[in-house]
């Protein structure tokens, strides 16, 4: 199997031998010879790792180490705007557990995230498969598929707000004119229906990104593998399941987990469309935390709401990292 993959790409390489001995490299830049020691140093995995990670760690340390720690500290403090806060342990979390709006937001966040992510994955995968062909307007179609992702969320969500508007909804207009409904549907006026609308807009906005990333993943799958499998008698579905899917799994996992974490924290979309209404039935962690922190000026409480899923998400990240780093 390994031979089959490598052969077409490095046609002239020798078969890999048992031991790879790094040789000192002579650089052919006139007047400069890279010191042997530096070259050898950079061959060591641990040294190279530090060098490669240095830019990232610098930026993150300078800009986010302190804010990150402070963000966590806020959640265990009673800080309000303008006053220094004091450590109060898990008191904020205790208050949250007694808060009906928080519990509703908890439920909503999970429902919203899981359903939206599942839909984005399924539709994104389907889109990637479709776009992975040659067809006449391929370029335009691929570019235009990205539009929902590119439009600033605040602006596209406003457009959706108008499209769902109780008085002006274009969907109502279409359905009524097609004779399918006689009374207008109040899209954002009912708790469950509003959640559905929010999920729909999130999927609309986020699916293109899944599509393009998965498309890139599909592109890295060697078509020769497909041909080989086809020759072996596999049909399209089996080819997809047995050949494609395992190869793009790492990327899929990355995209799904990232998207999930981002969707858990989603704020802008829901804030513009419903602000948590009607009757607080569409609040998620992001919007509820924002209202408490910004409008009631209770930064500690707001932080605790924002970070309610922190331990759970941390576990997810650790698992994900371990999975990706498993030796291939």
């Amino acid at each position: 199997m390994a031979d089959q993959r490598i052969e077409p790409i490095l046609a002239e390489s020798a078969r890999p031998t048992a031991v790879a001995v790094p040789a000192p490299v002579a650089v052919s830049v006139p007047g400069f010879r890279r010191p042997r020691r530096l070259g050898q140093l950079l061959e060591r995995q641990d040294v190279l790792a530090v060098v490669l990670l240095a830019p990232t760690l610098t930026i993150l340390t300078l800009f986010i180490a302190y804010p990150f720690v402070l963000g966590i500290w806020l959640a265990v403090s009673d800080k309000v705007v303008g006053r220094p806060g004091a450590f109060i342990g898990l008191e904020n979390f205790r208050v949250n557990l007694n808060d009906t709006i928080f519990l509703r937001a908890f439920q909503n966040t999970f429902v919203y995230t899981f359903i939206a992510t599942a839909l984005k994955l399924a539709l994104g995968m389907a889109a990637a498969l479709l776009l992975n062909h040659h067809f006449r307007f391929k370029r335009i179609v691929r570019a235009s598929m990205l539009l929902p992702w590119i439009v600033p969320t605040v602006l596209s969500t406003l457009a959706w707000q108008w499209m769902f508007d109780a008085t002006f909804s274009v969907f109502n207009w279409m359905l009524m004119n097609a004779g399918l409904i006689s009374k207008r549907i109040l899209w954002l006026g009912d708790g469950t229906l509003a959640m559905g609308c929010l999920i729909a807009v999130n999927v609309w906005r986020g699916m293109p990104f899944f599509a393009i990333t998965l498309l890139a993943g599909l592109q890295t799958v060697n078509p020769d593998l497909h041909e080989a499998a086809e020759i072996d008698g596999a049909n399209a579905w089996q080819r997809y399941w047995r050949v494609t899917l395992p190869l793009i799994k790492p990327i899929m996992l990355v995209v799904v987990l990232f998207s999930m974490i981002a969707t858990f924290a989603d704020f802008q979309l829901i804030y513009v469309l419903t602000r948590g209404g009607p009757y607080s039935s569409t609040h998620v962690f992001g919007t509820y935390a924002y209202e408490i922190a910004m409008r009631a000026a209770k930064l500690g409480q707001g932080a605790s709401i924002s970070l309610s899923l922190f331990p759970f998400l941390l576990a997810v990240i650790v698992f994900q990292l371990w999975y990706i780093r498993r030796s291939d």
Binding site: A2, I6, L10, A11, P16, T17, A20, L42, E43, Q45, A49, L52, T56, L57, I59, F63, Y66, P67, L70, G71, I72, N132, F135, R139, L147, P148, W149, I150, P152, T153, V154, L155, S156, L158, A159, F168, V170, W204, M207, I212, T213, A216, G217, T220, L247, P250, I251, V255, F258, A265, L299, G302, S306, L307, I317, V318, L321, I324, R325, D328
Partner: protein, 281 residues
Amino acid sequence: MAVRYGSPLKRAITFHVPLVLMVGVTLFPFYWMVITSVRPDRELYNVQMNPFFTFHPTFKHFQDLFELTMFARWAWNTIFIATVSTGISLFCGLLAGYALARLEFRWAAPLGTLIFVTYLVPPTLLFIPLGDVVKTFGIGDTPWAVILTYPTFLIPFCTWLLMGYFKTIPREIEDCARIDGASRIQAMIRITFPLAVPGILSAGIFAFTLSWNEFLYALVFLSSPQQKTIPIGVFTELVRGDVFYWGPLMAGALLGSIPVALVYSFFVEHYVTALTGAVKG
């Protein structure tokens, strides 16, 4: 990959129909936005009127966008900020992703976790202490305030994504190159990175778009009208209390996205060529 299969009918059902549906649903709101941006205000408020067509298209809203607001300036700001943030994040992400995906070293797991863990504190919380950092560095109300804070959420994902791509590239290829005498770094740059071009491009698109789109940090760290980005500027000036200026709003939304999509279309095609080139070898 040009795989043609099946009869024309089968092709239609399994390919053309789903494609058209998908494109339709994706672009439908844009169609509405286009109509709204050329529709005279009076028609917008008419409930009976067909929302899909107008007989009196006007370019006044686009005109208003440029004349009544500093849209051109905001567009420039946004492009500049997004480009530089993306550059920084890709650079860091490439190197870090490679290190975490390929190299064995003692602190791999904890460092890796550390980079991503910052992701778990959402921007709606982080912006407050970040404001302090911005003030300390004296970059408030300059593009650098956002250019240097955006990578805080762009780098982790770029790293993560590129790690995923690096994993799909067989290690043996680099090993071969190193046997032939290349150093680790050379193998990384000459072999692995080119093979990961699709991943690099999609990470770049992701980073650019997130920077383009970002609202909260730009709202808090950029205060002068000349420094604003498109989302902030358009939203702020055209949503006044309970009166929304729909025409210019949608014009701003369109102008703030279609040019970017056109640019992307070049990149999206590019990595197909890149791969075909590599395969032909």
